[in-house]
Point group: C2
């Protein structure tokens, strides 16, 4: 048995996971960050709540960068170069395995979701940014080698990215990028149904897909351009690594298949090298939703 | 002991390679392709010329795509879906291992050159195209998973590529791309010293670097733009895979370090995610030159 903890924006969720990657028990507490030492104690206490016999390690997934048992930085809470495993072991004497959240999502899908049965697999998470987790030959590209595939440039000299480059894939293919292009389309097209779909709640990642479903031409064009940019980076990733399957996760992945995955598959088939031979990569929806993070954190020790 | 055979444009070169990746004997014959069956016999005869006791397999590197013991296609000779290992074993009863030439170069450098001591390593070969060979966690991405990193798009909607995409890295970063941009600069700048350096022999990959060495401004600008495009794709590859080291090989890699590798390292350092943490990838010159292919072919069975 393994314990996984998903450190989200507002909650910590811990789960007990069995050998097959099935979540058998879940507990959660609000994230109330008071510094690294109390945080390590909270992790240990939360793990205690789902503890069972023969738990071999506790895995933790968090947004940021990790290296071995150390947290290099996190994007939601202020931690920098913290020896989290060392702090944790003062309270609970089990190995603490750390993973970036996108990497944990990939590991979760690899064992219990869209990646089952593969050896070479990637999950692309479309959220605030474009997260990527890669499994190559059954091993996670984790820790200091964790993939930053959101930061491949698809348009030289394009929009500036927080990472320092211009034209990064994540500027165009993230939910944030989709929202930005939806807003631009609304400014240019006051007649578009996008305005009705955004009324009250503001523009969300799903707005363009909802209006496109209703047949709005402007929204359809937004979705088309979005999918083309998503396909551009994805085809490059696939040409480099040629995995067996890529799963698409994150909020945007809930869009109707005929507006997202179907045209994405078509565009990637056109753009990827497999049309000349070699492995054809399947493009799938992620299956586990929010559970991927807990399950993947718990299974980290199986892919390291 | 292992035997490696490098199938080049005009010659077949076979080498006997020891456990340390050292080439101990070489033989060559002209490439005279008369069809797959005589070709398989030629490979067996050539292997016989460097044969020693305890040879475990014969590895063959060729430009094209392979899958297991089959050749999917080759770019220099007309073979398509040929069961080469089966044909070979009629003449010599040893396993025949097949590799793409860029992959063999990576394996050669991994054991005997710039990649020694690493587990995650890539070779980028700047020639007619941009070849890429990837070693991940000590295993080659070979066969049907062989990398086509030359076909990542760095400029959406850019120059059309033979692969069907537009704006592929190899259109800009190959020797072919360098020659094309050198010719364009010569048209725009009749006063440039590029014309003197190209006189008699025509424009080559080295022409821009030679004129830049002599201080020609136009040539310096050509080299600068070339290095920036090389860096753009390389930083994307590095952000995805985060290898320990990347070696640059092929004819262009012979350019003076201060005009090629030094500015390349600077640009990649600016563009790659490691400035925010994680692994910093070293950028090195390939060391083995033409021997990389033979040594890598011989060592294929060690990284499969």
């Amino acid at each position: 048995m393994y314990i996984g903890i998903d450190v989200g924006g507002t909650n910590l969720k811990a789960g007990l996971v069995d050998d097959t990657g099935t979540l058998v028990k879940v507990e959660r507490v609000p994230l109330d960050f008071q510094g690294p030492e109390p945080f390590a104690r909270t992790l240990a206490e939360l793990a205690g709540k789902v503890m069972a016999e023969k738990v071999r390690w506790v895995g933790v997934g968090l947004p940021g960068a990790v290296d071995g048992g150390d947290v290099r930085f996190t994007t939601n809470i202020p931690m920098e170069n913290i020896p989290l495993e060392k702090l944790f072991r003062r309270h609970l004497d089990l190995p603490l395995l750390l993973g970036n959240d996108a990497d944990c999502a990939a590991v979760g899908e690899f064992f219990g979701g869209a990646g089952r049965g593969t050896k070479d697999f990637a999950v692309i998470t479309l959220g605030t940014g474009v997260g990527a987790g890669l499994i190559v030959n059954g091993r996670l590209r984790g820790g200091a080698a964790s993939s930053e595939a959101g930061h491949i440039v698809i348009r030289q000299g394009g929009e500036p990215c927080n990472c320092g480059r211009r034209g990064c894939w994540e500027r165009y293919a993230s939910a944030t990028g989709l929202i930005a292009r939806t807003k631009r389309a609304m400014e240019d097209h006051p007649e578009s149904a996008l305005h009705q779909f955004a009324a009250g709640k503001g523009v969300e990642g799903r707005t363009a897909f909802q209006a496109a479903e209703a047949g709005d031409e402007t929204a359809l064009a937004v979705c088309r351009d979005y999918v083309n940019d998503l396909a551009s980076g994805l085809a490059s990733l696939i040409n480099i690594l040629r995995p067996e399957a890529v799963a698409i996760g994150g909020g945007v992945a809930a869009a109707p298949e005929r507006l997202l995955l179907e045209p994405l598959r078509e565009a990637v088939a056109q753009e990827s090298f497999s049309r000349h031979g070699g492995r054809v990569t399947r493009i799938l929806p992620a299956e586990l939703g929010n559970d991927a993070g807990i399950i993947g954190a718990a299974m980290l020790g199986r892919v390291m």
